[in-house]
């Protein structure tokens, strides 16, 4: 396996480049399309490149649409989700991996079960629960289901196994309380786990679509994806340029983060094998 013939390598590179081009084409289209004017879409709709780079679509997007408030909602939802997941799944993972108590063998299967259950099967009864709680059409209802993800609990439990028991026993003997153990010893030693959880919970909450679509019933609770999909379904009245600019804005936070934190994105998925 050590030496690959140059021909073999050239073939592999060609194959990889072809696949990569197809994977990235949609991003090229959205980028160039978002700078086209409405008349360009009507005149020469299939052109790949804009005649000139007009930022009118972006200006209009934030000026006279409610898109700014949708983005704000998305940021609030994702921000709270990140804080919630990092804190709560660290706590749960710590308890499951490092504390001794009866009932552990009941709680852990619950984590697994709630990871397997497909969300499509539960959104209708979840909606009934939210209505009963009087939370429908609120950001709280959008946040709650992604506030603590079972997958994150699982990941933190895995990372928690890497923290040596001896260290904790030593701290206990020194008289450290449970809270101190968690904050002073456990958290600093599980940094990469916390980063993975933060990324994963951001992705999940930012990309969440079906649940906000069901729960957000007025424009002031729309998240950016819901706003975008509602606009795209009324696409007779709205221009492709605006929609594509909206898509770029929704994609940008994820792509920027991915550029810098690729390792954690891939680690999250590799450890968890999630969709």
């Amino acid at each position: 396996m050590k030496t690959l013939s140059p021909t073999r390598q050239a073939l592999n590179y060609t194959a990889l480049i072809v696949v990569t081009v197809f994977m990235l084409l949609p991003f090229v289209w959205v980028f160039f399309g978002s700078f086209k004017t409405q008349s360009e879409f009507l005149g020469n709709p299939g052109a790949w490149f804009p005649e000139s780079f007009q930022i009118d679509n972006y200006i209009q997007l934030f000026a006279d649409r409610e898109f700014g408030s949708y983005m704000m909602n998305s940021f609030v939802v994702s921000g709270v989700a990140i804080v919630g997941n990092v804190l709560f799944s660290a706590m749960a993972g710590y308890a499951l991996a490092k504390l001794r108590f009866r009932g552990k063998n009941v709680v852990f299967p619950l984590v697994i079960v709630s990871m397997i259950v497909p969300y499509v099967a539960l959104f209708v009864p979840q909606f009934v629960v939210v209505v009963q709680m009087g939370l429908v059409n609120s950001l709280v209802a959008i946040i709650l289901p992604v506030l603590i993800l079972p997958l994150c609990v699982f990941i933190m439990r895995q990372f928690a196994h890497g923290v040596p028991f001896e260290l904790m026993e030593a701290a206990r003997l020194d008289g450290a309380g449970e809270g101190r153990l968690f904050f002073r010893i456990f958290l600093p030693l599980t940094g990469p786990g916390l980063a993975t959880v933060a990324i994963l919970s951001f992705l999940t909450s930012w990309n969440n679509f079906l649940w906000p679509l069901v729960v957000a019933q007025s424009q002031d609770t729309y998240t950016a994806p819901v706003g975008l999909s509602v606009a795209s379904q009324a696409s007779n009245t709205i221009s492709f340029g605006l929609l594509l600019a909206g898509a770029v804005v929704v994609l940008l936070p994820i792509l920027i983060l991915f550029l810098f934190l690729q390792k954690y994105f891939i680690q999250g998925v590799a450890t968890a094998g999630l969709k």
């Binding site: 396996m1 690959l4 073999r8 390598q9 592999n12 194959a15 990889l16 696949v19 994977m23 990235l24 949609p26 991003f27 289209w29 959205v30 709709p45 052109a47 790949w48 749960a92 308890a95 504390l99 001794r100 552990k104 852990f108 619950l110 697994i112 990871m115 397997i116 259950v117 497909p118 499509v120 209708v124 009864p125 979840q126 909606f127 629960v129 209505v131 009963q132 506030l147 079972p150 895995q158 309380g177 449970e178 809270g179 992705l203 679509f209 975008l228 795209s232 379904q233 898509a247 929704v250 994609l251 994820i254 994105f265 891939i266 998925v269 590799a270 968890a272 094998g273 999630l274 969709k275």
Partner: protein
């Protein structure tokens, strides 16, 4: 997500055993420890109860009633109708066609994504020298992409006069009505599904490949085994557990397919791309809550059965 489950069942057992004196230590904790544990677990447990436990019971309960949208605010006013609801759903032509469409998406998307993912993983693992990170990232980007934004792009790209057709036209090829004709609409949904999941398959296969010891290949190469022979007799058998996990994961994920057909075609044209999940969402929108819940429960059963069957089929033979 079933991947996680299996892996856990394997690793949790192993790690408990590995820990020296673990079993004795695990059993008893101080009172403070027990209290802390339950306190630390309470946010998870509360949300589990609220968004998985209660809804699961509610779904099964409501699917046995005649619940409509009006009853959502007052769920106790419904009538118990037994399995009538399920019978109605199963005999409903709309549900049946959604069922077959869903199976079709699984049958088309899962093998393509996995084959492509495996090929990419093999090339990235030891088929090239440079740019590995770049290619890995490029193939992976669609996985993390926001699906609504992606669907907007696909709708635009595959519209009748969009860039895809104009490029095809430039090459002198026919320009199909991608989203407007049943056959092409299915193709578009499958393409988008494959685009979105190949990266996941690739990453998981890469993780599996990295666990294959290099010495085996060297030994095989010394014995004169060629590339294909090594792939067939060494790599694939050793990747068996990884393949099992990815198969289950991908099957479950495509059984639940919702966003691609809903956002691209609304399940149309003529219901040709309507999946079970889209059907469930539609019934909910029409106010047929009990039918919607019965559909969800059937989908849940289907996912469970398929996962169990696949695990049995692909379990290593002793």
């Amino acid at each position: 997500m079933s991947t996680t489950a299996t892996r856990t069942m394997v690793t949790s057992g192993a790690s408990t055993r590995r820990r020296p004196g673990g079993t004795r230590r695990m059993r008893e904790g101080s009172k403070a420890e027990t209290t802390t544990a339950w306190l630390f677990l309470s946010p998870f447990l509360a949300l589990f109860l609220l968004f998985t436990g209660i809804p699961a019971i509610l779904a099964i309960g409501a699917s046995l009633t005649d619940m409509t949208a009006r009853d959502i605010r007052d769920p106790l006013g419904v009538n118990f109708t037994g399995f009538d609801g399920f019978a109605k759903v199963i005999t409903n032509p709309g549900f049946q066609s959604a069922f077959f469409n869903t199976i079709m998406f699984v049958v088309l998307c899962v093998p393509i994504s996995m084959a492509l993912g495996l090929a990419l993983a093999l090339m990235l693992n030891n088929g090239i020298r440079r740019l590995k990170t770049f290619f890995r990232a490029a193939v992976y980007v669609p996985v993390i992409t926001n699906i609504v934004a992606a669907a907007v792009i696909w709708q635009y790209a595959f519209s009748i006069t969009g860039p895809v057709n104009s490029s095809l036209g430039d090459l002198g090829l026919p320009e199909p009505n991608w989203l407007g004709e049943p056959g092409w609409a299915i193709t578009t949904v499958v393409l988008m599904g494959v685009w979105r999941t190949t990266g996941t398959c690739m990453i998981l296969f890469l993780a599996g490949l990295q666990a294959v010891p290099e010495e085996i290949y060297e030994a095989a190469a010394t014995d004169g085994a060629g590339t294909w022979r090594r792939l067939w007799s060494i790599t694939l058998p050793l990747l068996r557990p990884t393949t099992l996990l990815i198969t289950v994961l991908m099957t479950v994920s495509f059984l639940n397919i919702f966003e691609e057909p809903y956002l691209l075609t609304k399940g149309g044209p003529l219901g040709s791309t309507k999946s079970i999940a889209v059907w469930v969402y539609e019934q909910f929108g029409f106010g047929n809550v009990s039918a919607s819940m019965a559909g969800s429960v059937l989908l849940l059963l289907l996912v469970g059965i398929v996962a169990i069957v696949q695990f049995r089929m692909l379990r290593p033979k002793h």
